[in-house]
């Protein structure tokens, strides 16, 4: 019989008993996945959890595992206690996973939950402050996948990373699960994911069967002009959110996250609803003027029927744990549902 073996360093250990119990659960889950694989390939497997101080001996242990014939070694790793997140979505997830007390610094654009206002800001996507990050002695840093330099430097500094990239709506729950595993909050993550999925399902139920308005989702444009209008293309979480909220993105056919929507394209695509997503609030007067900018495109149904909305709601622009609420907000606008 062939034997298989592996070293896992996924479980998380800490001083308190709760986390240690959690350790066991994760190890068992890893083991069950492994057993399935083993059965499929007709091999045998056993699970042995080894404490983290044995991790340096991983090579020796793996040799031993081969000799023992198919033993899975699950090496435990200390649970991160000092987390830095440069990404608003991940910051929200950490707090939603009740790990907010372990977050020691956040990115410059992080605004939610209110607790983050008190935390040190250490830069963001383009300008991470490596020195400050290292000086805070983090044991886990959430970075964007595109931050290649930062990742190299953190790796050199031996700092563990949680690498994140924006993707679709479905990836939000995947990210929450992965993050949960990484910080030893699997159960919380599962609960959170369940909440989000329930919310999404309930929105989908309430908009099912309703006519789907053709929707133009604008990310940004020049102030008081229809110039450099950027809209959601057919991929990305905003597109997914509008689809889940019962709308049809007018640029669903464009295989990009963002489309430069020229005047001609906007007139041609004839959106029923124009939804401008903004992160920063506007004064009432400015909002009225910004909405009036669209009036010159009178042939567009959204303009003619007064269905141009300016939505200032971070839940609709951050792919974090509040996406379910974001989809609800969009669905209410698209289908004129009562609040």
């Amino acid at each position: 019989m062939r034997s298989i073996w592996a070293i896992f360093s996924v479980t998380l250990k800490s001083a308190d008993g709760a986390a240690r119990r959690h350790d066991g659960a994760t190890a068992r889950r890893v083991h069950s996945v492994f057993l399935e694989e083993a059965q499929k390939s007709g091999t045998s497997s056993r699970c042995v959890v080894v404490p983290s101080w044995l991790s340096p001996w991983a090579v020796l242990l793996s040799v031993a595992a081969v000799i023992l014939g198919g033993t899975v070694l699950v090496a435990s790793q200390p649970q991160p206690r000092r987390i830095i997140s440069l990404i608003p979505a991940v910051t929200e997830m950490l707090f939603a996973l009740e790990a907010g007390d372990r977050v020691v610094a956040v990115g410059s654009f992080d605004k939610y939950p209110p607790e983050v206002e008190k935390l040190p800001k250490v830069g963001a996507l383009l300008d991470p402050d490596l020195e400050r990050i290292l000086s805070l002695r983090p044991d886990l840093v959430a970075v964007y996948g595109s931050q290649a330099d930062l990742r190299t430097q953190l790796e050199r500094g031996g700092v563990a990373m949680f690498v994140y990239a924006h993707a679709g709506l479905a990836d939000v729950t995947t990210t929450i699960r992965e993050l949960g595993t990484r910080i030893g909050a699997d159960a919380r993550a599962a609960g959170l994911v369940r909440d989000i999925e329930e919310r999404l399902a309930s929105v989908r139920r309430s908009v099912a069967g309703r006519p789907r308005p053709k929707t133009l989702v604008v990310f940004g444009r020049e102030a008081l002009a229809l110039r450099n209008v950027y809209a959601s293309g057919g991929i990305g979480f905003v597109h997914d959110m509008v689809t889940a909220a019962g709308g049809d993105n007018v640029f669903a056919d464009v295989n990009q996250q963002a489309v430069q929507a020229t005047t001609e394209l906007i007139i041609t695509r004839r959106p029923d609803v124009i939804l401008e997503l903004r992160a920063e609030p506007l004064s009432r007067d400015a909002e009225q003027k910004e909405r009036a900018v669209w009036n010159r495109l009178g042939s567009v149904p959204a303009v003619r029927n007064g269905r141009v909305y300016i939505l200032v709601d971070r839940r609709t622009v951050i792919p974090g744990p509040r996406v379910g609420e974001g989809v609800e907000v969009i669905a209410r606008l698209l289908h004129r549902l009562p609040w």
């Binding site: 654009f109 383009l126 001609e264």
Partner: protein, 334 residues
């Protein structure tokens, strides 16, 4: 060599026909197909007629903006090359575009708003920025000299370009991601103005600049011989230099405020025209204006159709087409 009048007539007829052709055909092409019959169908109210809206709101202002910006950048290029007696001079050499970019960027980053006027502030801020750059360069070039030193002008301009670029990076550091993206996009140039208002606003400057350019043709020919030689032939050199510098700078500032800093037109078009019609500014100036208009309209038409429904930045197309074409002509002539 044929007499001036014949050369001028030939050049204006040739390049004029090209420009007219561009203005007439560009509104007919685009990412969507429209029917001309429906565009001019008066029985349907304008607000309910998508074809008419595409034609009159999306394509026509855009074509006119291309004509205006192309003509201004090309003729400003001719004037700067004549003034500085440097074939590498462009409308952006003396810091006008960097100043304009800084202005636009401050407006975008800090969300300056003239909401009470109901007009977008980025074009105004970019024009103000270009005026600032022009003013500083002009003061530096006249400060310690009796006349206008073109050497100081050139060095001061290049330095201001670098200085403003540094300021741009400094401001950019405070911009958030979406703003940074919008600024970058602004720097690539864009003619989708979606209304006639920017053109009307720029019109006084356009008229002034072209009037000055018309007057400048002969003085520029004389300046070509060198300042002293021009002086002995009775040219008020300082006045000619002042008019050239100010009018070309204003034209550039106005062009950038409408379409952003669209590169390559100000250098490729004048040289191309000179290769075809000779160096006499009386022919080169009107020919460059007409060809610049046709060239930019053509580049914009390509930019908005080649990857439709996506659109390429027009500045990318002007450089991609202008560069190789220019080199080809250069090699063929040499």
């Amino acid at each position: 060599m044929r007499p001036l009048r014949v050369r001028l007539a030939l050049a204006v007829a040739g390049f004029g026909a090209l420009a007219v052709l561009a203005v007439l055909t560009a509104p007919l092409v685009g990412s969507s197909s429209i029917s001309l019959a429906r565009v001019f169908d008066r029985s349907v109210p304008f607000a309910d007629n998508p074809d008419a809206q595409i034609f009159f709101i999306a394509r026509l202002p855009r074509t006119l903006a291309g004509a205006l910006v192309g003509a201004m950048l090309a003729s400003a290029g001719v004037v700067f090359q004549g003034l500085l007696r440097n074939p590498l001079a462009t409308p952006f050499t003396l810091g006008v575009s960097a100043g304009a970019a800084l202005g636009a960027m401050l407006a975008i980053t800090f969300g300056w708003s003239l909401a009470w006027l109901g007009i977008p502030v980025a074009p105004l801020a970019s024009f103000a920025g270009s005026l600032l750059a022009v003013g500083v360069v002009y003061l530096l070039a006249t400060a310690r000299h009796r006349g206008l030193s073109t050497h100081v002008l050139l060095l001061a301009g290049v330095t201001m370009n670098a200085f403003f670029s540094a300021l741009i990076l400094f401001v950019q550091y405070f911009a958030d991601f979406a703003e940074t993206f919008r600024i970058l996009r602004w720097l690539m140039g864009d003619l989708d103005i979606s209304s006639y208002q920017p053109l009307v606003t720029a019109l006084p400057l356009v008229v002034f600049s072209f009037a000055a350019f018309a007057w400048l043709a002969r003085p520029l020919n004389l300046l070509n011989l060198g300042a002293e030689a021009a002086e002995t032939r009775g040219l008020d050199v300082l006045r000619a230099q002042r008019v050239a510098f100010l009018s070309a700078s204003l034209a550039t500032g106005a062009a950038v405020s409408v379409g952003g800093p669209i590169g390559f037109i100000g250098i490729v078009v004048p040289h191309l025209v000179r290769l075809l019609v000779g160096a006499d500014h009386r022919v080169v100036l009107p020919a460059s204006a007409l060809f610049g208009a046709a060239f930019l309209i053509g580049c914009d038409a390509i930019a908005r159709t080649i990857m439709a429904p996506l659109e390429l930045p027009v500045g990318v197309i002007t450089a991609l087409i202008g560069g190789p074409f220019f080199l080809w002509l250069l090699v063929r002539r040499a």
